[in-house]
Symmetry: D2
């Protein structure tokens, strides 16, 4: 086993967010409330989950935050950009996710957090109209401005380290082109205003240039281009993406592995979502919806592998719908119908109705990603962080690897990575040694 030295998490950690809407404000308000002891950061692995170490009978199950050296909630500082100039307090009230009473209790701190001017391009987000926007002659100059914002924020807030987590809107669907194929091309494109460089890519570029780890919360193309992967390796900065795994897709990557586990066949999976928040409004534009649809569409393929088992998974009708339905507000509702078959081809159905809350599920992911990416940086990990696949609808991996969507394999990878970083034995659930005299260490 390699010897890994993880630097301590001393000093302040700044968390920068392009996009300060429902998810970002729910995240920040929640951290502030948790710090005050008003509420619990439930749903965050870094704060509330335990990790088993050693044998089952050892009873060693520390909290993750007591096992790996993570930044403390008290050391976090928040900042970001948005096309609307509202403070985080106003934005939280508008988002309508949290009860007014709770927001008021952290109003003072929220009010001081004001978005910097955004890099924005309406062609990439059809249904928004904000005016808190940078203007410049070239994309290169916009990036320069972001670099300055980052530097200024770090100094002003006395931060030791920074991470950046995209909480901005979903951009329209576009595919990688020549301009994305190498860092050189990309930088040329910045200079000559290439239309295929999306705003989110400029934030990511600025982050990586500044040695700041970057995570992509939306399904945007952004990080998934050779240019930025190259830059991440060059500056030894961790990156991870994309599209926070919440709601229906979360359920899908829980249930599908279960069907595969029992070798049950799948004929069809119909999923519809109804939601009424600003994110829903953005996704009401077909080109933006396409980006989300593609991101959501692949999760089954990775789990129910038609190549390996065509009899069971070779002919699945998978259809995903997202419907803007204002009565729900930030509550999202998923309805799934799953057509399965078992012994002798007999058919069965599973119907799942998930009455969830989007931003409530996303906020702890923002926290975990910020803390884990900061950990990765301190552990000298760089480039794509596949061990964070757990958090993504469309996990970024090396080009030659298929992403793993099974949430349980993702979790095992995450946990074993933490054990590995801390020099603990890995766990593989064999457990023969409880029952037999075996001359090996591996257990379960």
């Amino acid at each position: 086993m390699k010897d890994i030295i993880v630097q301590p998490a001393s000093g302040k950690l700044g968390i920068l967010m392009p996009g300060m809407g429902a998810v970002a404000t729910t995240f920040v308000a929640g951290v502030l409330a948790s710090r005050k002891g008003i509420a619990q950061p439930t749903g965050s692995l870094t704060q509330t989950a335990n990790i088993r170490l050693g044998k089952r009978t050892d009873n060693r199950n520390p909290k993750i935050k007591d096992f790996v050296p993570l930044a403390n909630l008290n050391d976090l500082v928040f900042g970001g950009w948005d096309v609307y100039a509202d403070s985080m307090y106003d934005a939280a009230v508008n988002a309508g996710v949290l009860e007014r009473g709770l927001i008021e209790l952290v109003k003072d701190e929220l009010e001081t957090i004001k978005p910097m001017k955004a890099v924005f391009d309406k062609r990439y987000v059809k249904n928004l109209d904000g005016t808190n926007v940078k203007t410049a002659a070239t994309k290169h100059e916009l990036v320069e401005a972001l670099l300055e914002d980052i530097e200024n924020f770090k100094i002003a807030n006395d931060c030791e380290r920074l991470v950046m987590v995209w909480c901005g809107s979903t951009e329209i669907y576009h595919e990688a082109k020549e301009v994305h194929a190498s860092l050189a091309n990309f930088e040329a494109g910045l200079l000559n205003n290439d239309p295929d460089i999306a705003p989110s890519m400029m934030y990511a570029y600025a982050a990586l240039k500044s040695n700041v780890p970057f995570a992509m919360g939306a399904p945007n193309l952004c990080l998934d281009i050779p240019a930025l992967e190259e830059l991440a390796k060059l500056t030894e900065t961790p990156i991870a993406g994309k599209d926070f795994k919440t709601g229906q897709t979360l359920m899908k990557t829980i249930v599908a592995p279960g069907l595969r586990a029992r070798a049950l066949g799948v004929r069809g999976w119909f999923s519809t979502n109804i939601l009424g928040n600003r994110d829903g409004l953005v996704l009401d534009a077909p080109e933006n919806f396409k980006t989300k649809e593609v991101s959501k569409g692949n999760v089954l393929d990775g789990i129910l592998d038609a190549n390996i088992n065509p009899e069971l998974y070779g002919d699945i009708h998978h259809k995903v719908r997202i419907e803007y339905y204002p009565p729900l507000g930030d509550n999202k509702e998923g309805w799934d119908n799953i057509d399965i078959f078992g012994w002798l081809g007999y058919q069965m159905q599973i119907k799942i109705n998930f009455l969830c809350r989007d931003s409530i599920l996303a906020a702890p992911i923002v926290l975990d990603l910020a803390l884990f990416l900061d950990l990765a940086k301190r552990a000298q990990l760089s480039g794509i962080q596949e061990w964070l696949s757990f958090y993504w609808k469309a996990p970024q991996t090396l080009p030659e690897l298929e992403p793993v969507h099974d949430i349980f394999k993702q979790l095992e990878k995450l946990e074993n990575t933490l054990r590995y970083l801390m020099g603990e034995e890995l766990i593989n659930n064999l457990g023969m040694d409880y029952y037999e005299d075996v001359d090996q260490e591996i257990e379960a």
Copy 2:
């Protein structure tokens, strides 16, 4: 790693079933139909699942049956006991699980399988009245008769090896007493007709005495007593139990690990089942229902561990109901309402409606257990087979171990056991080596 020699699966394997009702007939008819190529044994890991070997990029995913030496479907022979004298053909028609057309195609073979006289005691199964029943002065004599049945069956059918899988009814709830505390006590109890020795225990005793592996498909106490664990060790015979994991409990051990994975809290889980078959009728008697209820009731505790994480799982209202509702016939329907909470305590709900078919889900389990127990025997494994936990609502383990209910950990244990038996590398999903230069073998 220990050197394990697995004996080859040559010759015929006899599968003996106490109880030849819905599950047993669906199993046998299905194997016969599969042998003829009329239908597929979907849902059986031994027949249709693949197992990954080596690195992800190796693309080695053989079918399990091509990886470990299992008895071939063509080498199986079937027999058993029932309190009703119907042939397997008549029993299959009565069960109403399979379409008549399919049954007719294997009628000839099904008709030849006639149940031997059962060891039965109406006190243990209130709602049944069968007459195909052995009579004898003592339980000892009943066991003698079973031993003879077993021996005769083996000879008559020219079997190399046998396994026994209980597919009989759920017996009333009772707890382990003095008579169950040791093999000596138990054998004394057989002689003096101790009322606490249930019929299913006599079948198990006879099996183990004959070196025949035994699996307990119902939630009966049966194997869970020191007397029989002692006998299994003594005769070096594998045992496994109890209560086939199908339907709602299957879903529960899929979904609960997913909630725990994301560190979501759980406030309540309400489960109701409606079913209309003979099993439902038996469970309509409160004392028999109790046995099932206890078996179903613990699955959450093992997964959502209140000891380790009391904030999230310390106050769960878990309620399970089973309702006899004739319109459904053998179709069973589960409805679950799950009350969860996330970030800052915000509440959400998941509702799952599973339109399943009980015997269709149970039949492939009978097949897998028969083949895997036979494999275990040939691999010199004996006593409790915890690696088969995957198949059980209430997995039998060493007294000092908590059972693992998480179906994904159960599957990993099962698969790693197979890899271990065949001398293949274990899998733990770390996969660091894809991304870094690591001087170790472990991967994902």
Copy 3:
């Protein structure tokens, strides 16, 4: 058409409630809030529904309260009895139905409403322990005390008229006996403390003796006995019951008429309810549940009439379950599975999940019943008010009549009764005159 003179609704109307728990406080707080214009009394026919008059093309659709002379919300005064001494403010907070913020806005008025000492008998309600209870040597004396309470309340509050609506707990199941068979027997029973005279019957007796209309919100036997029917006729006082029709039963009497309308057959109807309030706790006692079960069990029979149409409705498996499940609080959830069949016997299913709020659905019923019973009294209607069937799970009718459960027939009866009282043409939806020259008035 008979000439009916409806007395005007002048002066104050006192509404007396035995039982001041979730329903009663939600009702009173809601009326107070509506009076202040803070919220709307939605779900109340008297306040928010319209009634069509004349031909469809006449466009005459007044609000019911503008059509018939009802007491005005501003003229209502509230009082009652409970075994707990909490004021209505404290009781409302405990009930946990309404948001605290709303309750605070009507706190002043709620606080002044304190329950009088109750007539209570723990044998009739197993799971309650209150001490705000009257004691006396005989049931006769208890009734005397109630009569005094009524008189005192009327004077103290300067009321013109009173009505009484039982909002107390469900009593245990019992059947009518000799003591209930006539008014004479009943009055003898009061004197000699007959154990079969339930507390609710004493309230009803006292009300009728005082010429106060009485409605029975629980499924208690109470009004359904010859003794009290006799007294109602004698004192010319309207009565109506029983068991407020809310939640799942409401849905059932909506959906079942629809199935019958299309002549679809029904094989089974499985209903389960989960609820977590004090009402749920009371119903957790089997003897109290029985009362509710019987009340809920008959609604289908009246709608899906097996006598008239045995092919479609002769063999329905109807099962109703109520489960106490604390995580839901006052939110109640119903899940229905309906097995139907159509053309050539082909089977279909309907599943309904109703996420409802019990007291929110019941409160407007209390209001409507109070106002309509007061109207009935002023219109010289007396005895059983079948036209109020609309509000009941188990509508009281003349012994020789089968109750009508179809909510649409109930509504038509209610509306046509109002039209009839006001001398308006009845509506029968024929409407031939729009299309043809017909020499009649009746239309639709």
Copy 4:
């Protein structure tokens, strides 16, 4: 009351169907099977429903077919047109609605029913390609050919009377134009091949010209134009439409009246449908889906009337989706989420999952419409038959009348029309006479 003479239903009645797909074959096979006593025509009012006559206590509830003079099932003859030349036997097998075993039992009769060449225009149905199609220089000539088909069929099958029920595909959405504004314009359009005259209009024109009542089972514009209403009046022929009310819309017109009955407010109604048959394939084309969407979209407006009650129904988000999802085949599944509010604005939700079978629900409607339109003709009713609104998603009415969508008002209208035709007292559910001495006849 007008004196109505209904001619007897003597001789054979021919039922002509343009479109012989799933619905038509399920209808015909079902009538044939019913005639043989193999199966029951459940879901048909004419065959299986009862109608109450007189007072509740009279116990007069004859079957409708025993009350009004309808054609007997044994006197029906079937024919029609389709763009595919398959016999009804082949079409029934292809449709996949009925079990093969049942179809075989009526194979002989089904095989003899072969479709005549269709009047077809691919512009109106994008996703079909059939070749069994008439060709002619003008639409006028196509109509001539249809007139001949009708006449020939009547003679060849020795029919006394005919009716025509459109069971063909949904045509694209188009609106009424000048050519539809009068019979004269329409006939000119036939001569000069006006592109706005859809195939279904030509069938309807031919039927009316031949004095054959016509019903429009699809949501096609067809009958809803002045030209054809004029022709119907001219030839004294009954017409009725449009779009068979089955599945989700059926449920909607059952549940919505229930919400309105209780004065519950509605904030949103989201409906999605998944279906996998040929009808689903046709509706997969956006222009054809639009026709269906419009037809389905209005049912709520009529029931939850925002004009009359804007507080409750003034702001409803109503969204309807239809999704082509092949795994379901002819099984259709609807999922509805209904957001309602009650007392003080508190919110609740209803979720309905309807696992239905489209053609099974539609077939009895075809039968009822055929028999009732024939009855109407014999009772000298002509033009729009609003009393048949019960069967339609978008009932045709006089231009000055709003359609009634409430299925219970529709049923009452239908039943009172039958009572009216037979000189029986109408029913309005008042029922005062049971309880009082009233000097009137009307009761309930």
